[in-house]
């Protein structure tokens, strides 16, 4: 998956991640030699199209949060490249942002923002809302004085809050309202790309519905691109156009949402889908219970990373690591047995 070819394609791409790796060194010993690495993100390649919402799904320890942080340069990438569609030269050029630093990095930061999971800790408890949201505006000198206050009020209105909420502290608000403030802060620099790291996981069901509606509205209004990181499959199904499934630092499946839910081709995805508790007591599926725990990203298994827990594993899976291959219609799977699985679907074996 390289990005050359037609200019039209390049123009529609916002972000292209190529072979990104983020390893954390594990040091031990008196002189702190690097013994091993935590392979949080291990050779990930993705393309994000402008205006879409890509869902990134996986369980704890799979590296999805690290991927998001690496894209934002909050973590240092160990290898690979991230091409971001720059506005220079008429918007045709993709630049590798892993090499940015200094002022260039600062200007880049304007264009990508993040909303964190826990609204309580993501807002500085000793700062006024006005300053929390206004910080982005101040850093880039987008407005001053009265204009700045108007802009902050405008942002608050766009997330459903009032102008006079500006002069309050975060602890005076409920969880859902704080998350709205965090979203307003993310929008304050007029970004193109927003990473949403489990934005509704810490919220109640009804509040979650409000926030999801808000996110969809904002995306349409401001023409944003989302990377929606979560472990909640029903939520991601509702909001995303495409979904990527991660396991132990690697992407194991990407496809359009409908295709994934209709016929997932990777055993891990199938297990995930079967484990979702649906709020419908009539639906009693046979849960596929995976044996064992999620393994450690320090010493991933040889060959296919999923093979110790996979009920379809064969000898090849133990030796050779599967690569992401096209299964048709934009559906990519990394599994040696995907053809067998595709055949199974025709016999309605794994249908929900």
């Amino acid at each position: 998956m390289t990005c050359n070819e037609t200019e039209a394609r390049v123009l529609s791409e916002l972000l292209e991640i190529q072979n990104l790796k983020t390893y954390y060194p594990i040091r031990s010993g008196v002189i702190q030699t690097t013994k091993n690495y935590v392979r949080a993100v291990d050779d990930v390649s993705l393309i994000l199209v402008k205006g879409e919402c890509l869902g990134l799904v996986g369980e704890s320890g799979c590296g999805k949060t690290t991927l998001g942080k690496t894209l934002l340069r909050l973590e240092k990438p160990s290898a690979g490249a991230v091409y971001f569609n720059s506005e220079e030269n008429g918007g045709g050029k993709l630049l590798d942002i892993t090499t940015f630093s200094g002022n260039r990095l600062k200007q880049l930061r304007k264009r990508m923002q993040i909303v964190f999971q826990d609204p309580t800790t993501s807002l500085n408890p000793r700062m006024l809302i006005k300053n929390i949201i206004g910080e982005g505006i101040t850093i880039y000198n987008l407005a001053r004085g009265r204009e700045k206050i108007d802009r902050v009020a405008e942002l608050l209105n766009s997330v459903g809050l009032n102008r006079d909420h500006m002069m309050r502290y975060p602890h005076e608000f409920s969880g859902g309202q704080r998350q709205r403030i965090a979203i307003a802060r993310a929008l304050s620099t007029k970004p193109d790309f927003v990473i949403l790291d489990e934005p509704t996981s810490a919220l109640d069901v009804s509040v979650q519905a409000q926030i999801l509606n808000l996110l969809i509205d904002l995306k349409n209004e401001y023409n944003l691109t989302y990377l929606f990181i979560t472990h909640h499959l029903l939520v991601v199904e509702h909001i995303s156009d495409r979904i990527a499934v991660m396991y132990l630092g690697k992407i194991v499946e990407i496809s359009r949402t409908k295709t994934l839910f209709a016929g997932a081709l990777h055993p891990y995805t199938i297990a995930l889908l079967s484990a979702i508790p649906y709020p419908d007591p009539d639906i009693r599926r046979k849960r596929i219970i995976l044996t064992g725990d999620v393994p450690n990203p320090i010493d991933p298994p040889e060959g296919c990373r999923f093979h110790p827990r996979c009920w379809l594993a064969v000898e090849r899976c133990r030796i050779e690591e599967p690569l992401l291959e096209d299964a048709g219609d934009g559906h990519f799977v990394a599994c040696h047995r995907k053809d067998d699985l595709a055949a199974e679907y025709h016999t309605h074996r794994y249908r929900r």
């Binding site: 600062k106 700062m127 850093i139 006079d164 620099t189």
Partner: protein, 342 residues
């Protein structure tokens, strides 16, 4: 009402009590004007004021903190009104305790000397009143300095981590291992006997714990999401430390500081007692007890004959330190976020 069209940020929200006259800072054509305006409508209170009133309310409801605050307030009044309470005899040197005569034996409280006199007839009353000023000076200057040093070192160490952290913490370790008394004696021997030298040795020995405290709170706060959000917004390092980290991390250090003010005064008194501090006749509590070293216990059969010599300065020291300790405890209860809104 005020007739200006262009308004600055501050003027957007007027936060004073309704019905009062508030002054408003207005900028026009680059110049600042002050204009009085009567606040007719009720404005919502500025959130900082609201928070302050909440904290203040908590302070006045806690009996211990009220005691602490009152004690400190009394001492504050004494210090401020020292020239009125006991006018200085030597105009240029108000800290020089007047003495009539050179008799070594202390005299009990009597006319002209409400608290009596110590050795060499120094007036105790004058000494303790002006000693209050000295105590505040020692407390604030020492603690102020070590706060600044501690915050600077602690923030750099805590925020940057890595090798910088290691080196700075080793420096802190070295300073922490210096023994106070020996160091004070060494400094006094080298530089002479004075209160300033005591303060210097207290500063040298006192700052490491602040560095450590700030560093440990920064280590916790550094991982919080709002710091990452600030970084993602593009905030510079220095700005993040000043605006985000320090306002959250400083509270343990402030509590420590308020407790330390008392402790520093106590230690300075001890050093003065040993003879390392101010010159003889200087108005300093510890120094005054030092003067009467030979008369702490009276003659055989009358051990408490010269009680006033030690007890009175001692009581002043005691209540001063007690006041700051109570205030420090109260501050800790107020600032602890778990207890705050119980």
């Amino acid at each position: 009402m005020c007739g200006w069209d262009r308004r600055t940020e501050e003027q957007e929200f007027i936060y004073t009590l309704p019905g009062t006259i508030g002054t408003v800072r207005i900028r026009k054509n680059g110049m600042y004007f002050l204009k009085k305006r009567r606040i007719v409508r009720e404005f919502e209170q500025h959130p900082r004021l609201k928070e302050f009133r909440f904290s203040f309310g908590k302070i006045v409801k806690n009996p211990l903190s009220v005691t602490g605050l009152s004690l400190i307030f009394i001492f504050f009044l004494i210090a401020v009104f020292a020239p009125v309470i006991s006018p200085p005899k030597y105009e240029q040197e108000p800290f020089r305790i007047p003495h009539e005569g050179y008799s070594v034996i202390p005299n009990p409280p009597g006319p002209g000397h409400p608290f009596g006199t110590t050795t060499k007839q120094y007036d105790i009353f004058y000494g303790v009143i002006w000693g209050t000023r000295t105590a505040f000076r020692i407390g604030f200057m020492v603690v102020g300095t070590i706060l600044i040093i501690g915050i600077a070192v602690g923030s750099i160490s805590g925020y940057f981590g890595g090798i910088v952290d290691e080196i700075l913490m080793r420096v802190v370790d070295i300073f922490m291992s210096l023994p106070l008394f020996i160091l004070a004696m060494a400094i006094v021997t080298a530089l002479g006997r004075s209160l300033d030298n005591i303060m210097r040795s207290l500063i040298i020995v006192g700052w490491p714990i602040y560095a450590r405290t700030i560093r440990s709170s920064i280590l916790t706060i550094r991982e919080e999401d709002f710091i990452k959000a600030a970084k993602a917004l593009g905030s510079g390092t220095f700005k993040i430390i000043l605006k985000h980290i320090l306002p959250n991390a400083i509270y343990p250090a402030l509590i420590l500081a308020s407790l330390d003010i008392g402790a520093m005064v106590l230690t300075a008194a001890a050093l003065s007692f040993l003879g390392l501090g101010a010159q003889e006749g200087y108005a300093d509590w510890g120094q005054m007890v030092s003067l009467a070293r030979n008369y702490i216990v009276g003659p055989q059969g009358q051990p408490f004959l010269f009680w006033y010599v030690v007890t009175i300065p001692g009581l002043f020291i005691l209540f001063f330190v007690l006041g700051w300790n109570l205030l420090g405890d109260a501050l800790r209860d107020i600032f602890d976020p778990k207890l705050r809104r119980k």
